[in-house]
């Protein structure tokens, strides 16, 4: 009772050394055998990954484990969508969660720094002698939560999509199929414009889009009005009492007509 923690710790360790000396097994070969088997597995996995990666991809064409390389670095690109290596996905997604300018540095340096300090300091704030997981509920809950949140962040980061023209144009045939305007070239052109012009930065459409600024889903907007109405709306949303959305008159009448046709054809699949 009077003995302090350091004394008890030293006793524990002396007993440990004693036990290992008397009851232990030799590191070589009894423990090292397990180690070598495990190492063999590791090396085989590395070679297998390399082989699958190489034989499934071809140059910039991606296989199941990604491409050999992407296009050469282009500091002036306006179409590339950057993504980090998988083990930084959690940080990547963390940066998307903190989407308020005031909080940027919390996600960029704040949380990683705190995590690192907690990690380094672990032996100093968890000083109990108890090692059994069943008697360390706080540590175990914290560990499970950490693993879970890392897993969720990594998964969300891996599947994160951006509402950008360069990616969204690929969905146009799918939309045309679902909404049944595949044989209307004007509506298809409108769909391409819709994908490219940043509409999905705010709106959503058939599961795509960012949903910023409280903009509505447009998947079935065609049920409400007809093409000419949409053209007038797009030309001057303020006239319809919408002060959040800007005017799209700069697209030109021909493009606006196409957009109107597309919106009118969007009956909700």
């Amino acid at each position: 009772m009077a003995r302090d923690l350091g004394e008890l710790n030293r006793e524990d360790f002396a007993r440990y050394k004693d036990d290992v000396k008397k009851e232990g097994k030799s590191f070589f070969p009894r423990a090292l055998f397990h180690d070598t088997v495990m190492s063999l597995v590791v090396v085989c996995v590395i070679v297998a990954l390399a082989a699958i990666w190489y034989f499934d991809a071809d140059g910039v064409k991606s296989g199941i484990l990604g491409p050999w390389y992407t296009e050469p670095a282009d500091p002036a690109t306006t179409s590339f969508v950057p993504r980090p290596d998988w083990y930084f996905y959690f940080l990547f997604y963390l940066l998307r969660i903190f989407k308020w300018p005031e909080t940027v540095f919390i996600a960029t340096v704040g949380i990683p720094t705190i995590a690192l300090i907690l990690l380094i300091g672990l032996p100093f704030y968890d000083r109990r002698r108890e090692r059994r997981p069943s008697r360390r509920p706080v540590a175990m809950v914290a560990a499970v939560l950490t693993v879970l949140s890392m897993a969720v962040l990594t998964w969300k980061g891996a599947t994160a999509k951006e509402a950008l023209g360069s990616e969204l144009v690929a969905f146009v045939p799918e939309w045309a199929q679902e909404q049944g305007f595949a044989d209307d070239p004007q509506a298809v052109k409108g769909a391409e414009l819709f994908a490219q012009s940043g509409c999905l930065n705010c709106h959503t459409y058939l599961g795509q889009g960012a949903g910023n600024l409280g903009a509505p889903d447009l998947s079935s907007i065609g049920q409400t009005n007809e093409a000419t109405y949409f053209v007038r709306y797009l030309t001057n949303p303020a006239a319809f009492g919408n002060t959040v959305m800007g005017s799209y008159a700069y697209l030109g009448q021909e493009n606006l007509d196409a957009l109107g046709a597309f919106l009118a054809a969007s009956k909700g699949g």
Binding site: A73, A76, F98, L193, G198, Y250
Partner: protein, 315 residues
């Protein structure tokens, strides 16, 4: 290890001068980038505090007694200490070995300084000093239609090669009166730098690019685009036609480039940071700041997190 094995340490007494010395060195290095006055002040501080420090350290050698006693050990330890073997009688060379200790340390420090300071300086300083300020020629004004954005990709450094390729979004705002120049009619441009001010990703214009109207003038690639907003592909930043943030994490408005008109050609100057833009086009009121890394606030209360930023040219 028992505590008794600790001999009476010869460590010098505590001294506050190293802090002043460190501040001086930091000032000196900072001054090499910022201004020679700060560098000179830093050098003086470093020398003065360095001398004071050296005086402090060598006090014992010179036979003076430090005014602050080293911390004493706990009573229990002192009781245990005499249990060790009896200390040998001090040898006559005692003071001389003290001198050797001090000079070995001093010489080592000198060697360390001579070797590491130039190396560290060469490692760090070129990032802040060897910056070339270059102007880029974007070609004749006729290539920029009024009220529409053109994606211009150019070489920021003439000999810099592909790695210095940059992109700006250029919009011609028409002719406006310049009161500073006797009310003469001058062309006005809005030139937005394509890097997101959240973390530097390549911003994309939200609109169809007119690939048919693509032009290539002396290595400058011009592509008209029907867009009045810009989106970032990384973390969901969204900007309006003036480069103001509309959604997502960007901490300020899009960076802009200075420009000038020479012989009917648009010449790009350095990039600067923008806190906020009110108004549009030629009438826009721009709160401008020296350029800083993406993700650093330039205005508002968060700006105090970044009090000094490196002097910048962007190329």
């Amino acid at each position: 290890m028992s505590d008794a094995s600790h001999d009476n340490p010869h460590a010098p007494g505590p001294s506050l001068w190293p802090i002043g010395f460190a501040i001086g060195v930091a000032c000196l290095l900072l001054g090499l980038v910022l201004s020679w006055i700060i560098a000179a002040i830093g050098a003086v501080l470093a020398v003065v505090f360095g001398l004071l420090w050296a005086r402090d350290v060598t006090r014992e050698v010179r036979g003076e007694v430090p005014e602050i006693e080293p911390e004493t050990r706990a009573v229990a330890d002192e009781a245990a200490a005499p249990a060790g073997p009896p200390a040998a009688a001090p040898l006559p060379t005692y003071t001389r070995s003290r001198f050797l200790e001090a000079s070995t340390l001093g010489i080592s420090a000198a060697i360390g300084a001579v070797v590491t300071l130039p190396v560290l300086g060469f490692m760090v300083l070129p990032s802040f000093t060897n910056l070339e300020e270059q102007e880029a020629d974007l070609g004749p004004l006729e290539n920029f239609p009024e009220g529409k954005y053109v994606i211009a990709s150019y070489f920021a450094l003439p000999g810099g090669g592909e790695v210095s390729r940059r992109t700006v979004f250029v919009r011609y705002n028409g002719l406006v009166e310049n009161p500073a120049n006797q009310g003469r009619q001058e062309p006005s441009f809005t030139i937005l730098y394509s890097r997101c001010v959240h973390l530097g990703c390549p911003v994309q214009p939200n609109g169809p690019i007119d690939e048919a109207a693509k032009k290539n003038v002396n290595g400058v690639e011009l592509r008209p685009v029907l867009a009045q907003s810009f989106g970032c592909p990384c973390h969901g930043g969204l900007y309006d036609a003036e480069g103001n943030r509309r959604a997502g994490p960007p901490v300020r408005s899009m960076d802009r480039a200075e420009y000038s008109i020479k012989h009917g050609r648009l010449i790009l100057g350095p990039v600067y940071a923008v806190g906020n833009v009110s108004g549009t086009g030629a009438n826009a009121m721009i709160s401008r700041y020296p350029w800083s890394t993406p993700g650093t606030h330039v205005d508002g209360i968060e700006a105090w997190l970044y009090p000094i930023v490196p002097t910048q040219v962007t190329g």
